[in-house]
Amino acid sequence: MTAPLVMVVLPAVAAVVGLLLGGMSRAAAATIAVAGPLAALVVAALLAAEQPWDAPIVDAGFHGVLQPFPAATVVDGLAVSVALMVCFVATLVQIYSIGYMKDEPRYSSYAAFISLFTAAMLAVVVAGDLLFLVVGWEVMGLCSYLLIGQNWEQHEARRAAVKAFLVTKVGDIGFIVGVVVLIGTTGTTLIPNAVQAASSDSTVATVASGLILLGVLGKSAQFPLHAWLPDAMAGPSPVSALIHAATMVAAGVYVVARLYPMFLASPEVLTAMAVIACITMLGAAVIALVQSDMKRVLAWSTVSQLAYMVAALAVGSRDAAVFHLLSHAFFKALLFLAAGAVIHAVGSSALRDTGGLRQSMPVTFMTMSIGLLALVGVFPLSGFFSKESVLVAAEHAAEGDEVVAPWVGWLVLVVAVVTIAVTAAYALRLWMLTWVGPRRGEARPIHETPPVMYVPLVLLAVPTLLFGFTALDVGALPTWIQANATQPLATPGALTPGLLTIALSVTALLVGVGVGLRGRWSSGIGDGRSFLARGLGVDAAYDWLAVRPLLVLVRWVTEFDSGVIQRTVSGVGVGTVASGRQLQRTQRGDVQRYVSAALTALIVAVVITLVAVAT
C-alpha cells in the first residue's frame, strides 16, 4: 500500500476500531480518536518531505486482476498542502472534542465518525481516480449527516442532518452524472488523463464541469444549494469547525482545483461560477449581519468566504482559491472552536446570552479576536493575504488577462470589495456582542475552558497569524500549491497583494468598521425570525420548489399504486371469482336445461361449420 493510501486508511481504521469497540473506556476511545488523524498528519508530513510539488507522486493503484479498488492516487503540491491542513485541523478538533464532548454518552461513535470524515476528505484530496474521488465525496456527505445529527434526540438536529444530506445530494446528481460523462467521453477513470482529455474538447468540458459544478455548489454551500450549512450548526461545535474548515466545504473548492484545466476550458461555466459566487458572497454576508446566534453568524460567514474561493476559481486563479481555502480553514476552525468554548462556558450559542466575557475567558477572547481579524482581512493576518490574492486575481481578469470576459473580473472585484465592508461589520458586531458590553443571559460563573480545549485554539491561532507570509514571493506557498499533476501552471507573484487592491480593501474595511461601530447591536440582536435572518426565503423556496412538489408526487404515486395498479390486479382476481360465481348459476341441476343447452351448442357448431365449409 502506498503512502497516500496509508494516509487515508489510518483515520478510517481508527473509525472502524472506534465503532467496533464501542464499549471501550473513554480514554482508549480518545486515544484512538486522536491517533488516527495524527498518524495521517505524520504521513502527510513525510509526503511533503518528498517535495511532490516538483515531481508529483502518481500511483495508478493496484495492478492486474487483484486490483481490489480503483485506488489510484495523485499527490502533488496541491494535494499535500491541503492534506496537511486537513490532518492538522482534524487532529486539533479531535483533541478539542475530548474536552468539549466530555459528557457525551456516544463519544466513541462521534469520534469515529470524525475520523471517518477525515479519511473521506483525505480520499478526495489524494484521489487519482474519479471513482475513488466519488467514494470520498459521498462518504463525506454521510459523515456530515451523522455528525450534524449527533444529537438526534433533538428535532433541530434531525432536521438539519437530513437537510444537509439531501441538499448536498441534490447537487450530487450533477456531480455523479458529470463524473459519468467524464468517464464516458474520455474512456478513463484516471483523473489526470480524464482531465487532459476533457479539456481539449470544449463541449465535453462545459458539460462535465457544469454538472460537476452542481455538486460543488452543494458541498461548498453556494447559492442556491447553500441553505444546509447554516442549519448544520445544530451539530456540536467541533463538528462545525471540521465541516466549515477542513472537510465538507473545502472539498467542493478542492475538486474544482483538482479538475481545473477542464474548468478553464469552459468560460461559460467559469462565468456561471462567478455570478453564483457574487450572489453568495454578498448575500451571505448581509444575512450574517442580522443573525442572533453566534454559530449562525459564523456559518453564514463561511458561505460568504467560500464564495471568495469560488470567485477566485471563476476568474482563473486556482492558486488564490487554494490559498484562501487554506487560510480560511485555519481561522474558521479557530472561530468555531472558540465559539464552542463560549458555548461550553455560557451554555448557549444565542448572542442574547453572551456579552462581557472578555475577562473571564482571556485565552478564548484573544484567539477568537485573532480569528475575527483574519476573517475581516486585517494586515498582517493570513486572511488579509489570501483575500488580497483573490482581489488581485479579479483585477487580472478585469484587465482581460484570463479566459473569462473582463466584466466578470469587474463584477467579482466590486462585489468582493463590498463584501469586505459587510464582513467587517458583522465580525465587529459579533465581537462586541460576545466580548464587550454588559453580560446578558443567566448569571452563572464563567470560567476559561480546560487546556485540552484552549491549546487547540492557540495552535490554530499561530497559522492564522503567520500563514499569510508564506504567500509572498519569498515564501514557499506559491510553489507548494501548484497542482502540476493536472496542470503545470504557476503565475509568479500571483499571490502577492497589489497596490490597487490594498487600497480598495482597506477602504472597504474602514467603511465596514465605521458602520459596525455605529450599529446599536446590543439592543437589536433580533430573534432570527426576520426575512433577512432566515436567509432571504431560500428555505421557503426549497419548500415550494422541491419539497412540496415531491410530497405531492409521493402522494400521487402512492395513490396510483394502491388505487390503479393494485386495484387492477386484485380486480382481475375478484372478477375471476365473480365470473365463476356467475357461471355457477347455469349449473342448477335441471337436466332438461342441460340437455337443451348441449343440443343448442351442437346445432350452433354444425351451422357455423356448414357456413364455413360452404363459403
Binding site: 486482476v65 467514494v135 465525496w137 434526540e153 450530487d172 446528481i173 459519468v180 409521493v554 404515486v557 390486479v569
Partner: protein
C-alpha cells in the same frame, strides 16, 4: 480429476434433506433447525468446492458441466453448469441459505413447526440453485417453478397479517408470469429445435426470424419482469414482503428476485439479440420509471417492510437499466447490482425482522421511536444497511448503480440521447432513495426512545448477519472480486449482441 458431481450435489443434498425431514415425522421437530444448519453448511462447503474448482481464467465458458438426456420427448436435458454470470448468484444463494438456517435455529416464526419450515427452506434452496445452474430452457423453467410452492407455504403459514391473500397474489401473479415465459421458451424451442441454453446463446437463437425473436423475447421478458419485479408488475412484492416471515423476506428479496434479471442476461440477451436490441430502450424506460416510482412510493409507505419492498423495485430498476444498455459495463453493473441488492436487502430484512420480533410490528404508526438509544447495535445495523442500500460509495450498493449509469452513457444500442435522459432521471432516483431511507432512520432510529431498552442484537443474530455485513463492506471496497468473475462471461454475452447492432 473431474469434479462434475459438485453441482448436482449442491442440489441433491438439500433435496434429500428435505425428503428426510418429510418422512422423519414429528420427532424431527426437536432437531430440524440444527439439521437445517448442518445441511446448509454442507452446501456452503460444496459451494467452496465449486469456487475452488472454478477456473477464473475461463470465466467466459461453462464449467463443471453435467449433461444427461432426461425427457427426449421434450428435448429436455438435465444440463447444469456454471460460469461467470451464475457463479456469484450461486454463491449468494448458498450464503443466504446458510444465514437463514442459522437465524432459524432460535427464531422459528409463529406457529412453530420447525420441521416443515426447514424442509421448505431446503426445497426453496434446490429451486434457487437449480435455476442459476440450469443450462436447458425447460429445466430452467422447472427450477423456476420449484421455488413457488415453498415460498407460498412460507408466506401463507408462517406469515403475518393478510398472509394468505399475499401468498396467493404472489403465487398466482408469478405463475402467470412464468407461464408467459414458458410460451416464449417454447417458441424458441420449436423454432430452433433446441433447448440447450449454451447452443442457443452461441448463435443458434440468432437464426430465428426477426418476428419470432421479438415474440419470444417479449414473452420471456414479460415473464421475467414479473419476477424481477419490473414496474408495473411489482404489485405482488410489497404484500408478499409485508406478510412473509423474516427468512422468507430475506430469501425473497435476496435471491428470488434475482431469478428474473438473471434470466434476462442468461437467456434473452444472448439468445434473442435482434429482438433485445429493439426492446432495450423500452426496457430502459420501464427501468427508470421503476427507479423513480419505487423511490416515490417508498417515501409514501407507512410500513417498514413495505418501504424496503418498494426500494427493491427501485434497485431492480437499476439492474434492469444496466441490462438494457447491452454494454459490457452495464451488464456487469447489473450482475453486481443483483449481488449487492441480495446482500444488503437481505441484511435489511434481517434487521427489520429483528425489530419486528422485538416490537411486534413494522408499521410506523405503532413502532417505538429511538431505536438508536434503546438498542444501539440493532439501530446501528439498521442505519448501516439503510446507508448501504441508498447507494453509499464504499459499500456494495453503490457500484452496481453507478456503473449502470456509466453503461447508460454509452449504451450498445443507438439511442444515445434517450439513454442519457434516462441516466439523469436514474441519478435523480438515487437522491430520492436517500430521502426515504433517511425518513426511515428518522422515524425509527432517531428521537428520544419511547421504549427504555430493548434486547440488543443477540449472538445468533450476529452469527447469521455478520457474513452479510462483511460482504457489504468487502464488495464495496473491492467490487473487482465480482467483476473479475462476471466480466469475461459478460463479454461473451455482449459479443453475441454485437452482430445484431445496426
Amino acid at each position: 480429476m473431474t469434479s462434475n458431481w459438485l453441482l448436482p450435489a449442491l442440489l441433491v443434498v438439500p433435496l434429500l434433506a428435505s425428503v428426510i425431514l418429510l418422512v422423519a415425522g414429528r420427532r424431527a421437530e426437536s432437531w430440524a433447525t440444527w439439521f437445517g444448519v448442518g445441511v446448509q453448511s454442507v452446501g456452503l462447503v460444496l459451494m467452496l468446492g465449486v469456487l475452488a474448482e472454478y477456473k477464473r481464467n475461463m470465466s467466459g465458458s461453462m464449467q463443471l458441466v453435467v449433461d444427461a438426456e432426461w425427457v427426449p420427448e421434450l428435448l429436455v436435458h438435465f444440463r447444469l453448469g456454471v460460469d461467470g454470470i451464475s457463479l456469484p448468484l450461486i454463491a449468494l444463494t448458498s450464503l443466504l441459505g446458510w444465514c437463514a438456517a442459522v437465524y432459524t435455529v432460535r427464531r422459528v416464526p409463529e406457529p412453530g413447526r420447525a420441521r416443515a419450515l426447514v424442509g421448505l427452506l431446503l426445497l426453496l434452496q434446490v429451486g434457487l440453485l437449480g435455476t442459476f445452474m440450469a443450462l436447458d430452457l425447460i429445466l430452467f423453467f422447472l427450477f423456476f417453478e420449484v421455488v413457488l410452492a415453498p415460498m407460498w407455504f412460507l408466506i401463507a403459514f408462517w406469515g403475518s397479517g393478510e398472509r394468505r391473500r399475499a401468498a396467493n397474489t404472489f403465487i398466482l401473479y408469478t405463475v402467470l408470469g412464468s407461464v408467459v415465459m414458458l410460451v416464449g421458451f417454447l417458441i424458441v424451442i420449436v423454432k430452433t429445435g433446441s433447448a440447450d441454453m449454451v447452443a442457443l446463446a452461441n448463435g443458434l437463437g440468432e437464426q430465428m426470424s426477426g418476428n419470432a425473436q421479438l415474440a419470444a423475447a417479449l414473452l420471456i421478458l414479460g415473464g421475467l419482469a414479473v419476477k424481477t419485479p419490473m414496474w408495473p408488475f411489482h404489485t405482488w412484492l410489497p404484500d408478499a414482503h409485508t406478510a412473509a416471515p423474516t427468512v422468507g423476506s430475506v430469501l425473497l428479496a435476496g435471491v428470488l428476485l434475482k431469478m428474473g434479471t438473471y434470466g434476462m442476461v442468461r437467456i434473452v440477451v444472448p439468445t434473442l439479440p435482434d429482438a433485445m436490441v429493439q426492446i432495450a430502450p423500452y426496457l430502459a424506460a420501464f427501468a427508470v420509471i421503476g427507479i423513480l416510482y419505487g423511490a416515490l412510493a417508498s417515501y409514501g409507505q407507512q410500513d417498514l417492510k413495505r418501504v424496503i419492498a418498494f426500494s427493491s423495485v427501485g434497485h431492480m430498476g437499476f439492474v434492469l437499466l444496466g441490462i438494457s444498455t447491452l454494454s459490457v459495463v452495464g451488464i456487469n453493473a447489473a450482475l453486481f447490482g443483483n449481488i449487492a441488492h441480495g446482500i444488503i436487502t437481505g441484511l435489511l430484512f434481517f434487521v427489520v425482522g429483528g425489530i419486528k420480533q422485538r416490537t411486534g410490528t413494522t408499521a410506523f404508526a405503532s413502532l417505538p421511536r429511538g431505536l438508536y438509544a434503546s438498542a444501539p447495535r440493532l439501530g446501528f445495523l439498521l442505519g448501516f444497511a439503510a446507508v448501504a442500500s441508498l447507494g453509499m460509495p464504499g459499500l456494495a450498493g453503490f457500484w452496481g448503480e453507478f456503473l449502470s449509469l456509466v453503461g447508460a452513457y454509452h449504451p450498445a444500442v443507438p439511442e444515445h440521447l434517450f439513454y442519457r435522459v434516462m441516466l439523469v432521471l436514474a441519478a435523480v432516483g438515487m437522491v430520492l432513495a436517500a430521502a426515504y431511507f433517511l425518513r426511515v432512520l428518522r422515524r425509527v432510529g432517531q428521537g428520544a426512545a419511547s421504549q427504555a431498552t430493548m434486547d440488543d442484537v443477540a449472538a445468533d443474530e450476529w452469527l447469521s448477519w455478520t457474513p452479510l455485513i462483511a460482504l457489504t463492506v468487502v464488495l464495496g471496497l473491492a467490487p473487482v472480486l465480482v467483476f473479475q468473475v462476471t466480466d469475461p462471461a459478460v463479454r461473451m454475452v455482449v459479443e453475441s449482441v454485437a452482430g445484431a447492432l445496426p
